[in-house]
Amino acid sequence: MAIEVRNLNVWYGRSQALHDITLTIESQGATAIIGPSGCGKSTFVRCLNRMHEEIAGGRVEGEVLVEGINIYERSIQPVYVRRHIGMVFQRPNPLPTRSIFENVAIGLRLNGLARGDALKEIVERSLTQAALWDEVKDRLNESAGQLSGGQQQRLCIARALAIEPKIILMDEPASALDPISTFQIEDLMRELRKTYPVVIVTHNMQQAARVAEKTVFFLQGRLIEQGETGKFFSRPQKKETEDYISGRFS
């Protein structure tokens, strides 16, 4: 499996956001994390690439094993964890002062992974993977700020793909986008899950059903239920899950 989470407890300062989470993410396919606002799903995902500790008062206890290695091990620097675990955020965040090309290239440059022609090839390949190449191939040097919301998000996906992460994390990647862009992103997710383990946080249950093979339900910082998506939605085992699915609370 790609990720094994063991007894994860997470705090913001004094208040505990996640309680004793134990979970595995398969090494292929998409896993959706659903739950009402404030249930801790974003927090959880940010613990998978050691982003949570960048927040003031953020604290993590427990183990997160990626390919058998605990990424929270003392000797491991977060910088090299994040390089291997890509993330796409809720609001598209390309670097506005840079060109489209530079936005994709920056991860490669920072990590010293490619230069010159090899760099250009990888940028093209990543933009193609993100289904954006045709739309931008003639204006690679334009500022990234010129793109539409959906295009910017695909740019961010291309940026993440360029450095060949082992895992892709997506924190509500389509929630700030219009419906058409949302469908495009969902198409992309279905493509990506063929080659990468993808973890998607979403508040949209239909999206989870469309995109993920496995679904996990969080409520108030606890893992309530997880399972194969079809069974999860048609025959939920816990009452809380059923309540949430049927819309009793959201």
């Binding site: 990424i71 491991i76 910088v79 090299y80 920072l110 010293g112």
Partner: protein, 301 residues
């Protein structure tokens, strides 16, 4: 499950830093920036501490009751004090406040309560901001030409006016900021109860922002208490007690300026003592303001 030989062999930990020159450089530049920025901060803090401690050490021995009760002795004879300078400063700051507080406060009121985001208000706001950047000696020149020259005499009045102008933008800016922080719901409630605009502002809005406004005023007063340049050609200085604002008047910063370059050690000592008094005043007001604005972010009551 069985463990094959391949799995047993420790695979290179992909999360360890790759040992490349590139990564070594990244590590170095990261450390370098932390070190350099720390150094910069340490420099700034060290300079301040050194300055404060030096003035403390040089001035403290000469702080005594005489300093606050006697006037300077002629020709650097030992003894004497800075009483006239302190009295002059008090009078000048008082005068400046009479002039600067109403003008500054009402400008702040205008910008917050009447002007909003209109073009005129934006212009006034910009003007106020620009005013803070004008060197204070310019206002001294203004008062010199406007008051001193026609009167043919240096005067405390001219000094007070110059200092008052300096206070205006400080009071205006801080007042506007705190008045804006008063929640609109308060204004709506007051008006809905039938109060007039003026009543709302005077009885509801301003009292809510009272702490912040006082903070701004204290800030402005402390600021002008330390000003020297505008007083050079207005109040001019006076080695004797004088509370007549139509005559030249002394002020603590003026006296410090005067004594700092004196050939007499006794006067230099008093310059340090005077500086210490001034610095203590500034420190107290700075800390008080900070303490006051600490509870300030919760809404300005």
């Amino acid at each position: 499950m069985s463990i094959t030989v391949e799995q047993q062999q420790p695979t290179a930990n992909p999360f360890q830093a790759p040992r490349t020159a590139h990564n070594a450089r990244r590590r170095i530049s990261n450390i370098a920036i932390v070190a350099l920025s720390l150094l910069a901060t340490a420099f700034a803090v060290a300079v301040l501490l050194f300055l404060l401690l030096y003035v403390l050490r040089a001035g403290l021995p000469y702080i005594n009751l005489d300093l606050f009760t006697k006037i300077p002795t002629p020709n650097g004879e030992p003894g004497g004090g800075l009483a006239n300078s302190i009295q002059g400063s008090l009078i000048l700051v008082g005068l400046a406040s009479l002039f600067g507080i109403p003008l500054g406060l009402f400008t702040g009121i205008y910008l917050s309560e009447f002007g909003g985001r209109g073009p005129i208000a934006t212009g006034v706001r910009f003007l106020v901001d620009v005013l803070t950047g004008i060197p204070t000696i310019i206002f001294g020149l203004f008062a010199w030409i406007f008051i001193v020259v026609p009167q043919q005499s240096f005067s405390g009045l001219a000094g007070g006016v110059a200092l008052g102008i300096i206070m205006i933008p400080i009071v205006a800016r801080t007042s506007e900021v705190v008045l804006r922080l008063v929640p609109n719901e308060l204004r709506e409630a007051s008006l809905a109860l039938g109060a007039t605009e003026s009543r709302t502002i005077l009885r509801v809005v301003i009292p809510s922002a009272r702490n912040g406004i006082i903070t701004g005023i204290v800030l402005a007063m402390a600021r002008v208490a330390g000003e020297t340049a505008p007083l050079l050609m207005t109040a001019f200085g006076n080695p004797f007690f004088n509370s007549d604002i139509t005559q030249p008047m002394d002020a603590l910063p003026l006296r410090i300026f005067n004594f700092a370059e004196s050939p007499y050690q006794a006067q230099i000592n008093q310059a340090y003592a005077g500086s210490l008094v001034l610095i203590v005043l500034i420190l107290i007001t700075s800390f008080a303001i900070r303490w006051a604005t600490g509870g300030f972010k919760h809404g300005g009551r």
